[in-house]
Symmetry: C2
Subunit: 178 residues, 2 copies
Amino acid sequence: MDDQRTDALAANETPAERRINAILATNGERPATLMLATAESCTGGGVAARLTAVAGASDYFQGGIVAYSNEAKAKLLGVSRETLATRGAVSAECAREMAEGARHALDAAIAVSTTGIAGPGGATARKPVGLVYIAVATPEGVQAEEFHFPGGRAVITDAAAEAALLMLLRAVEGYVNG
Amino acid sequence: MDDQRTDALAANETPAERRINAILATNGERPATLMLATAESCTGGGVAARLTAVAGASDYFQGGIVAYSNEAKAKLLGVSRETLATRGAVSAECAREMAEGARHALDAAIAVSTTGIAGPGGATARKPVGLVYIAVATPEGVQAEEFHFPGGRAVITDAAAEAALLMLLRAVEGYVNG
């Protein structure tokens, strides 16, 4: 019992990007089981930076798009102008379209996206600082989750990157385990 | 004299991304003086993450492309297949094409790119771990520099991101000062 608990604890303490690496790294052999991609707004490249901090990431990480402006979201990720105009860039729908867009733009099986309000500016009555949508797109579909992170800009973006990596890990585990 | 020296020291100690912000932030007013973009390989999103860690970055940062695979470099940044085949992804020519590609893909005035060998794998006889090329593209042209950074993966990617931000800062200063 103690050993099992210790193992579980250790597993949970391993950063998500290392657990993804443990599942997908091919030690240089191609093709990988599956390829990953990112589409980031509020995290600004932080998710990709954590994925690529692990040696061997090039085995399974195609790349990512940091779509900070609405123009970049539309042009590079194919987010619809209608979504941006009616739902806004910080919305579950935009997150879903960003994740789908990254899958296609980067020829990846699974992509994760982030869009939110890191603050201190940019908040509105309906969209407070700390509101973040994260979506994961797989061959089977795309799902978004809404988060409300407390704290300042750096704390919010770090928490969003952590949540995105955990959602990506769950999708990778689901894909690999069938 | 003492005050001047202190000021100079303080200015140099201010991170490049904050000095870029001080030059370009519009406090939400559009259009900005100029827009920036990134194209990252070895830094994996770290340059974009540092730029966007500063509040107000959305005033002047369009976004970036993390082109980790050769496919992404060709498809999203327009790096030529010939360059990838003959010079390789870690080359001054590839860095130049990445920076130019980011300028165009993201409709930015100035773009910075990074491509290198962060290790521990991926080195060859002619391309050791720590070899990094960084290029900056402006409306007036594109220039690449070669770096050899000592240390492990994290040290190399941090040093490359720092060098990229300093080259970007110099380009911004040159553009704004005429």
